[in-house]
Symmetry: C2
Subunit: 355 residues, 2 copies
């Protein structure tokens, strides 16, 4: 019945290991699953046999018999650097726990969103899912997952679901620091480029900015607040609006580095000297932050740590079976400012040439 296997694929079964160690297959199973109730000496013997035979348990069989899958899903919307960093971190943590990671693009615009998600989780029998923003806020995905009873961790959701954990960063506090940094360099009139409205980060970053402006009694000119959806191309537009306004700012706070890069481009096209005539800050410490000149003052996003923590939440959840512990864990990480070259103190020089 077995299909012809390629060379070197004759799989060692648990039985063979058992035989060699002089125990039953069940005991080998116990050792593999690290269950208690195996005498230390027996365990050693089994481990040796496994080693010698170079035995690798068959995940399909383990899954079928134990009604598990050893699989965690990572659902994303848009590929990019963030995703690939995240998945790398998450996989690391998963490996320690003997789990694997399925990285799946989910098209929010697709017609059968819920259907696709359903297929994924039920065919694969995922043991947990991590939702990257903005998926972490999409009802279609969230509901499907929750109806299916799949442990889910939401990354930076705008509204954290009551019954499942989330991992957050304190973007608001970081935005405050960044704004303070600008203000302390003498900037009073500051432009702001908002991100995608469906990201929590967008609102938090703006709020942090507003916090400081208000606290210092500085006005926020609506003309200088534009929404760029975290995209470089949109950022170009926004930057133009802001810089070509009647009374342009001396600094711009962009909600991410891509948009900050856009601001840099526009400023350069307008022949502004950077950072002397215009200070710019970004957010995320994306690759582009150090690939342009001046290098961006920004906020480092500890993506891999977030990923590890998220994976860990799923892994730790396993024992509970059904329902998260009370209270539902909601770790929030502090962000760290990265001071580089794109901010300069406001001086007499920084007057825009008329246009």
């Amino acid at each position: 019945m077995r299909k012809e296997l390629g060379p070197g694929r004759e799989s060692t079964t648990i039985e063979r290991v058992a035989e060699r160690a002089g125990v039953s297959s069940k005991t080998v199973s116990r050792v593999i699953n690290n269950e208690r109730g195996v005498r230390a000496e027996t365990r050693t013997r089994v481990l040796e046999a496994i080693e010698q035979l170079d035995y690798q348990p068959n995940l399909n069989a383990r899954g079928l018999a134990g009604d598990r899958s050893f699989l965690i899903g990572l659902f994303y919307d848009k590929p990019g650097d963030y995703l690939s960093e995240f998945q790398t971190g998450a996989v690391q943590r998963c490996r320690e726990a003997g789990l694997h990671m399925m990285v799946e693009p989910i098209d929010i615009c697709g017609p059968d969103l819920a259907r696709n998600v359903n297929t994924l989780i039920r065919q694969l029998r995922l043991e947990g899912v991590i939702l990257l923003p903005p998926l972490s806020d999409y009802a279609g995905v969230r509901d499907t997952l929750s109806k299916a009873g799949i442990p889910t961790v939401h990354i930076a959701p705008r509204r954290a679901p009551e019954d499942s954990p989330s991992v957050d960063t304190d973007d608001r506090a970081a935005a405050r620091q960044l704004t303070t940094h600008l203000v302390e360099h003498g900037h009073r009139r500051i432009g702001f480029m908002r991100g995608r409205p469906d990201h929590r980060a967008s609102e938090q970053r703006y709020l942090g900015f507003a916090d400081v402006m208000h606290a210092r009694g500085l006005a926020i000119d609506p003309q200088l607040v534009q929404t760029g959806n975290f995209e470089f191309s949109d950022g170009l537009e926004c930057a133009r609006h802001i810089l070509e306004s009647r009374d342009p700012p001396t600094a711009i706070f962009a909600s991410n580095d891509d948009m900050a890069a856009a601001a840099v481009c526009v400023a350069r096209q307008m022949s502004l000297a950077l950072p002397e005539q215009l200070s710019i800050v970004g957010f995320d410490d994306a690759p582009v932050a150090t690939m342009i000149w001046p290098q961006l003052t920004t906020v480092r996003q500890p993506v891999r740590s977030i990923a590890r923590i998220a994976a860990d939440l799923i892994i730790q959840h396993k024992p509970h079976r059904r329902g998260w512990p009370q209270p539902v864990p909601r770790p929030r990480l502090e962000l760290e400012l990265v001071l580089r070259d794109s901010v300069a103190p406001l001086s007499a020089v920084s007057v825009h040439p008329p246009h």
Copy 2:
């Protein structure tokens, strides 16, 4: 025996579908696997039952019984934009074939490279593996895979293995075009920044450059050829070397956009007007290519297409069982120039200020 399942997880089995359709489970199985030898009317009936019951076959069980896994591996070395684009393309193709993709970071520097790979492929029983560069040239990985008899597709390997397919792009031809473009804009003295030596792309891009230079009887000054490993930071170094040399070039060919961006930075720091005083071209059409000013003239890499083709090769391979068809497929894609703003015709103005 069954573990308590969460709400909504009572799984419909193949038996229930069979019952509803009034056939045996085996027939349902045939329909699921799209086997021939099922009367059209029966097939319809089964399909209806599947639909009504919202049945999702259990992959673990299918795998165990059929000695398959429905899993394809994508092994990578370094996260980044390229990876995430690639995986997105590959997953798309896989889904059409009912397969899933395991994206796995492989640490080439890690001590137990072969061991780790082995664990992955044998536990997961991957049906095929796609190797991203530079993994596609690492003997440790290649041998392990080939010994295990796993169908493998190599992306842009320096040396394509005889017995397994690879997917390539014609980097050399593209580099020729790019160089020609430069030369036709009047550039004679051109600097070159090489990529990581263990990437095929590095050598091909250089060869293409050299082809044109030789053909046109132009000298390649060794002083102006530096190796930057595809990294922005290295690119900074290289660019400095090149631009601070006694007799600096009027154009630089960087082997990827990150390094081209570095050249832009350095040039800017040296107060060179871009592109008037220095033309720069990159390669890959990475995100950064349009996030700096001037936007880079470069070569578009059809990453998703490559990914789809690679996935397809694995999928198509399935029926053959053991060994690829003769001859082993080696698709090679043409690359497309993207003309932007970083190249200017050489004119009297483009004289470097002394330093």
